[in-house]
C-alpha cells in the first residue's frame, strides 16, 4: 500500500517537472526529491565551457540566482552563441536531462546530464557606461586632498621652525 | 637553545621543495585515513 502510494507520488512528483521548465534555484533546493529524474530546466548559460572528458563538456546554467553544471556533448556546447559574464547576457537555454544530486561519474557534484539542449534566446551584450557624477566627485575629493596636503606642509614648516 | 635568525632565503628552493613534499605526504595520509574510515563503516 505504502509502495503504491510512493510510486504514485513519485510519478506525479516528476511529471510537472517534465512539463514545465524549472528554475535552477528550485532544482537545487529540491535536491534529493528529484534525484535521477528527468527534468526540464531553463536558464542563462554563463562562464566557460569546461572539459569533462573526451566527448563531453560542462556548461553552467544560471537562473533564480543559482547556477548548476550541465554536462553535454562538445558539439552541442559549440552551438551556444553567448556565455554570460560582465557586460554580456548569455544565451537562454532550455535543457532536458537527468538530474543527479550526487553524480558518481563526476566526483559527487550535483549536476544535470543533458539529453537535449535548445537555445531559446541568443543573449545580448549590454553597455555599462561610466557616470559623469563619479568623475566630478573624485575630482572634488582630489582637490580637497590637495588642500589638506598644502595645509599639512604649512603646519609642518611652522612646527619645524619653532 | 637560542633562536637562530640567519638568512632565511639561503635554501629557498630546497625549503619550497620540502614544503611541497611534506604537504603531499600529509594529503596522502589524510586520503588514506578518510578512505579507511569510509571502508570500515561500509
Amino acid at each position: 500500500m505504502l509502495c503504491v502510494a510512493c510510486a504514485v507520488a513519485l510519478a506525479f512528483g516528476c511529471r510537472p517537472a517534465i512539463a514545465q521548465p524549472m528554475v535552477v534555484a528550485d532544482l537545487v533546493a529540491r535536491g534529493s526529491d528529484l534525484d535521477g529524474h528527468n527534468i526540464r530546466l531553463r536558464g542563462e548559460a554563463i562562464g566557460d565551457v569546461l572539459r569533462a572528458d573526451e566527448e563531453t563538456v560542462w556548461v553552467h546554467v544560471l537562473s533564480g540566482g543559482t547556477a548548476v553544471g550541465v554536462v553535454m556533448d562538445r558539439a552541442t556546447a559549440e552551438t551556444i552563441p553567448r556565455l554570460g559574464r560582465y557586460r554580456r547576457i548569455g544565451s537562454t537555454l532550455e535543457i532536458e536531462g537527468v538530474f543527479n544530486v550526487a553524480c558518481d561519474e563526476h566526483g559527487g557534484d550535483l549536476d544535470v546530464h543533458a539529453v537535449s539542449v535548445e537555445v531559446l534566446d541568443e543573449g545580448s551584450e549590454y553597455a555599462d557606461p561610466p557616470s559623469v557624477w563619479q568623475l566630478a566627485i573624485s575630482m572634488a575629493l582630489f582637490a580637497l586632498a590637495a588642500v589638506a596636503v598644502a595645509l599639512q606642509r604649512r603646519m609642518r614648516r611652522k612646527f619645524d621652525a619653532g | 637553545m637560542e633562536r637562530r635568525y640567519h638568512n632565511p632565503y639561503r635554501h629557498l628552493m630546497g625549503g619550497l621543495g620540502i614544503e611541497i613534499a611534506v604537504f603531499a605526504a600529509v594529503i596522502a595520509l589524510l586520503v588514506v585515513v578518510t578512505l579507511l574510515a569510509g571502508l570500515w563503516v561500509r
Partner: protein, 504 residues
Amino acid sequence: MWIPLTLREVRAITHYLGVLTIGLGFAMSVPLVTAVLFGEWNPALDYLVGIAVACALGTLLMLADVTRPAISHRQAFLISPLAWLIASAVAAVPLALSGNYAGYLDAAFETVSGLTTSGLTLVQDLDHMAHSHNMWRHLTHLIGGQGIIVAAVSLAVGLKGGGAFSLYLAEGRDERILPNVVHSARFIWVVTAIWVLVGTVVLGVANLVQGMAFSRAGLHAFWITVAAYDTGGFAPQSLSTMYYRSGVFELLTVFLMLAGAMNFNLHADLWRGDYREIFKNIEARTLFGNMAILAGFAGAGLAATHFYSANSELLRKGLYHIISANTGTGHQTLYAGQWKDLGSVAFFAVILAMAFGGMVSSTAGGIKSLRVGVILKSILLEVRRMLSPDSAAVRTSFHHLTDRELTPQLVSTALTVFVIYIATYLAGGLIGAAYGYNLDAALFESISATANVGLSTGITSPTMPTGLKVTYMVLMWAGRLEFFTLMALGFAIVISLRPKRIVR
C-alpha cells in the same frame, strides 16, 4: 591602574590611521589598472572614486598631528583595530558603487570578510561581475591576510619609534621572524609572492587544460590562488571551487591552503635549511594530527549516510571540506543547502575543524593548533603528575621553533584564548538562532565567521537580517585580531570618555 588617553596620543593615532588610509588608496590602483586594461570604464571610475575618498580622508586624518610623532606600545594596540575598521570602510566604497551589492553595508560586510580572510560573501550576480571588482575582492584577502599593518611596516611608511613591532604584535602576529621587524614583514611578503606565483602558474595551466581562454584562465588562477593561499575563500564564480569541475584543480588548491595555514616562522626555518623543524614542531604535529582525526570522522560519517557512494566522493566532498575548514579557507564544493546531505557526523567534523583552525602567525584563523597542542600537553602533564612518585618534579617541554618548557603561564594564556573563542562561537550561534535559524546552522555560520573560515550553510545572504550582518562583521573582526586588541580598544574608549568613574 587605567590611564586615559591624552589628546596628544589620540592625535598621533589619528595621524597614522590617515597614513594607512592613503596606503589603501594606493592598493586600489591595481583594480583600476585592471579595469583600464579590460576596458571596464564604469568600474574604473568606481576605483577612481575609491582612491579619491582614501586620499581625501587620509590627508585630513593626517592633519591631526603634523609633528611626525613616535608611537608607543599602547598606541599601537589602538591603531591596529581602528586601522582594520577604517580600511574596511574605505575599501567598501568601490564595491558599493559596483551595483553587485544591495547597499553600502553589504559592501562593507564583503570587505571585512575579505580583509579578515574569511570569505563569507553578500555579493549578488557574481557570475556577471567585472574583472576589476573581482580583482579588488581577492586583493583584500592578500592585503588582510599578510596584515594591513604588515603591509605598511614592510614599506616602512612613515612609522617612527619603537611602535612598529608593537603594531606587528597587535595584528595577531606574536613572533618576529627576523630581528628587524621591517625585515620580518618583508619576509612575509616574499613567502607570499613565491607561493602566489607558483600557485598562479600551476592553476593557470590546469584552467587552460580545462579549456578556459588564456586571460580568464590566468585571472581565475590568480584569484583562486590568492584566496586559497591567504586562507580567504572568495571565488570569482558563484559556485566557488566547484565551478572548475576538476579533482586535480581541487587537489592543487589544497596544497595552497596548507601552505597558507603554515606559520611564517616555519616557512623561514625550512627556507633556512632546517628541514627537521616541520617534523618536530608541536604546531605542525597538532594541526596534521587534528586534521587526520577529523578526516577519519568525515570519511566514516559520509560513508554511513550512503549519500556519496564512490570513494573519490568521500575525498572531494568530505576531506576537501575538512582541509578547507581546518586551514580557515572556506572554498566549498557543495551548495550551501547541501550540508545536511553530509550527515551529522561529517557536518560536526567540519564545525570542529573550523573551530580549531591553523597555525599562529599564519593567515589562518580559529583557536590555532599551537594553543590546542599546549593544552593537550598540559593534560598529559597532569596525568603524569598523578602517576609519578611524590618526590619527583614532573616537567615537560615542547618544541616550537625552539625547545620550550611548558610553564603554567603558557598554559593559562592558551586556555584563556581557547575559552574566549569557544564563548564567542557559542554567543554568535545563539544570536543566529535568536534570529530564527536552526541552531546547528547558526553555530556553523558563527564559527565560520569568528574563525575567519567562510564556509556557509546559506545563512549569509543579502536577505539576512541587518543585525546578523553586523554581528558577523564584528565576529570576523574580533576573531582576526584575536579579541584582546579589540578589548583594549573598547576599554581605552570607555576610560577616556568616563575617566572619573573608572580610573582610581
